[in-house]
């Protein structure tokens, strides 16, 4: 569980705009940097404004992120990022679909696992038909598929 309060959001905005401003102003003297410089200046002004407003109006609202619950989903995205081109899209799509369906389902009995497989199969065939056959998209493949 990560907890987020209002001050941290103001600080985040400030840090973000300073970072982007640094990137824009250290980029070079080329004309191509005029527009980013303009934008990051606007962003710095806005973030200072929000800092000032924070001290005027301090009603704390705390939001939470249930990072533990989401970790498996985020992990499977990472899996795709790292192995996407290596193992092929279709193979990983099957794998990720199965993982997400299994981990985030309410009931975990034999019958629901069977359904997971069935739905995964149907969905991947649908995806293959839509992208590979209909729209002629050549996704990365691994060995056989």
């Amino acid at each position: 569980m990560i907890k987020i309060n209002k001050l941290s959001s103001v600080v985040l905005v400030l840090i973000l705009s300073i970072l982007l401003a640094y990137a824009s102003f250290s980029g070079g003297t080329s004309e191509a940097y005029i527009f980013p410089k303009l934008l990051s200046t606007v962003m710095i002004i806005l973030s200072f404004l929000s800092l000032v407003l924070y001290f005027y109006n301090k009603n704390e609202k705390i939001t939470e992120v249930d990072i533990k619950k989401l970790s498996i989903y985020l992990g499977s995205l990472l899996l795709f990022l790292v192995f996407g081109e290596l193992l092929g899209f279709y193979f990983l799509a099957v794998l990720i679909f199965l993982i997400i369906c299994y981990v985030y389902s309410e009931k975990k009995n034999k019958k629901s696992i069977f359904y997971n497989f069935l739905i995964t199969l149907c969905f991947i065939i649908f995806i293959y038909f839509l992208f590979a056959i209909l729209l002629k998209v050549q996704a990365p493949r691994f060995f056989l598929f």
Partner: protein, 324 residues
């Protein structure tokens, strides 16, 4: 559970149609041609036209369809950078080239990963010269009018074109040098927006593709053509810049064709170099190209290699001292 998964993988592998490529029976699956420009642009639609006969069952061209893949961005840099570094060297990844664009970019920019040495031409299908255009209501009626005005008002005459270091920009640079007047170039994101800017009077003049300008003669005047000879079929009455007394050659003519990455097996390149020009020469393809107002110039691999080298020399000379 494990068993089930294995079984399942087995079924899926049967369902998929991919297979390991073997030398000798090339091509046995669709070939992709990367176009470094947006769908709908001149290069894109010509590439689609000239490759549509690839899999025709009655003709002995490639026997497999060609799929166009668009990777647009930064005047072609994104697509060609990808092609030179990431494309598979098995003959299934080909790309469309635009001369002088990619040669001049490889000379001027440090961050381009492509040049004529790591790409292999297959064949050329078209050549589109740049023409000098002004709006319909423009006070300029000839090149002489414009040069006179530009000399009296240095930097005031604005020119549109399809981006930096593309054919239009090369023509502009040559024109500026030959006329001795100071001019201003306004790069646009494509030929169509550049043409629109001339029509709407946002810029005073422009260089654009002959084929596009030819069709817009209701809204613009075509003053000259940046080539060695006049264009006889489409614009017989428009003089070349040379005839107007300006030393502008054909370096800016936009050649379009198909290339492969270096490292593609020689027998595959030979196969393509033999078949692709035949495919370009198909009667149906030529008919469609003519209907589309696209000037065709088919050249074989040897001729294109020659042309690439010649362009590299002339563009290096022209662009010397122009690094951004």
């Amino acid at each position: 559970m494990k068993k089930l998964f294995l079984y399942f993988t087995f079924i899926l592998s049967f369902l998929s149609f991919g297979s390991v490529a073997q030398a000798g029976d090339y091509p046995d699956r669709p070939i992709s041609v990367t176009v470094a420009y947006n769908p709908g642009g001149a290069t894109d639609f010509q590439a689609r036209l000239v490759t549509m006969m690839a899999s025709h069952p009655k003709k002995d061209y490639l026997g497999q369809p060609i799929v166009i893949v668009n990777k647009p961005g930064a005047g072609g840099k994104v697509g060609w950078n990808w092609f030179a570094t990431k494309a598979r060297k098995d003959g299934y990844d080909l790309a469309a080239y635009n001369i002088p664009h990619f040669v001049s970019q490889s000379i001027v920019f440090d961050d381009t990963k492509y040049n004529i040495d790591n790409l292999e031409p297959i064949a050329n299908w078209g050549a589109d010269p740049a023409v000098l255009i002004v709006g319909k209501d423009s006070p300029f009626n000839s090149v002489a009018d414009m040069v006179k005005f530009a000399k009296a008002n240095p930097g005031k005459v604005t020119f549109s074109g399809a981006g930096k270091f593309v054919g239009h920009h090369i023509a502009f640079l040559q024109f500026q040098k030959a006329s001795g007047a100071k001019l201003t170039y306004v790069p646009h994101t494509g030929g169509v927006p550049a043409l629109t800017a001339v029509k709407g009077g946002q810029v005073m003049a422009g260089f654009n593709n002959l084929s596009d300008a030819f069709r817009s003669q209701n809204d613009i005047k075509i003053l000259a053509i940046a080539d060695l000879q006049r264009e006889k079929t489409f614009l017989p009455n428009v003089p070349t810049l040379k005839e107007e007394g300006l030393d502008v050659d054909n370096s800016s003519v936009n050649f379009r064709g198909i290339m492969a990455p270096k490292g593609t097996p020689p027998e595959i390149i030979e196969f393509l170099a033999a078949k692709v020009p035949l495919m370009f020469n198909d009667k149906k393809t030529l008919g469609q190209m003519k209907k589309g107002g696209s000037p065709v110039r088919i050249m074989n691999r040897a001729e294109v290699q020659e042309m690439w080298k010649a362009r590299k020399v002339s563009l290096t000379k022209l662009l010397a001292g122009l690094k951004p």
